[in-house]
Amino acid sequence: MSALLMPRPVWEAIRAHGEETYPHECCGALLGVATPNGWRIESAVRAGNTRTDSAHNRYSIAPVELVQIERDARSRGLEIAGFYHSHPDHPAQWSATDFAEAHWLGCSYVITAVARGTATVTNSFRLCGATEEDKQFEWEPIAIDDECIGREPC
């Protein structure tokens, strides 16, 4: 099983983002480097949610913004390791929509539940599989600095 390594300031930043945008979903990219056991996140980059029509339960990042994020990552010797978004008043568990719209194989998808404006559980799911047709989400623990947190979601 892989694990997602994340510095505490990044952990706090992605959760704070979800609280700030509540009751709407926040979204952003995670930049990092690959290790044999999973991604080591170096920073999070906030992104705009283009789903202004349904931001309380939908997010989408404009591809042109990802072009710029990836350019910035390259200049820093980093890769796009994954993405994060929030679920306002809903568990930190991937949905059918999250799964259908997930195409970054090998990357980590981090979801934070924000209950009545307060970030609660944050979970990470790695998108495993070799193709779009056999992709699957696998829960992975998040290691904040030296502390491993997270529990298997229900």
Binding site: N57, Y59, I61, E101
Partner: protein
């Protein structure tokens, strides 16, 4: 021109994050890319040879689908082509009672 390979496709491109090609058009560049790295083809194209719906192509900072000549657009040596899979999602709908 340089083609930037996104994270999920690098295992199928020899682990590389960018590949230089010498084609004259965007379509030619993709053809050269998939000829050199055949495993990329199924990730970029359907069985019918169309670009997968979730694959976005950007010539420099321009979305290729909105260019007048689309994939037939000529390219120059200094141009870049970014392959960007879509990213979206969201929580399930809630039933308000």
């Amino acid at each position: 021109m340089t083609i930037f390979i996104p994270t999920p496709l690098r295992p199928f491109a020899g682990g590389r994050n960018e590949i230089d090609v010498s084609a004259a058009t965007i379509a030619g560049a993709l053809d050269e890319l998939t000829q050199a790295h055949p495993d990329l083809r199924k990730h970029l194209f359907t069985a019918e040879g169309k670009l997968r719906s979730f694959v976005n192509l950007y010539l420099n900072d321009e979305d290729v689908r909105y260019l007048p000549a689309k994939e037939s657009t000529p390219v120059a040596a200094a141009d870049t082509l970014s392959i960007i899979p879509s990213i979206a999602g969201g929580r399930p709908f809630s039933v308000v009672r």
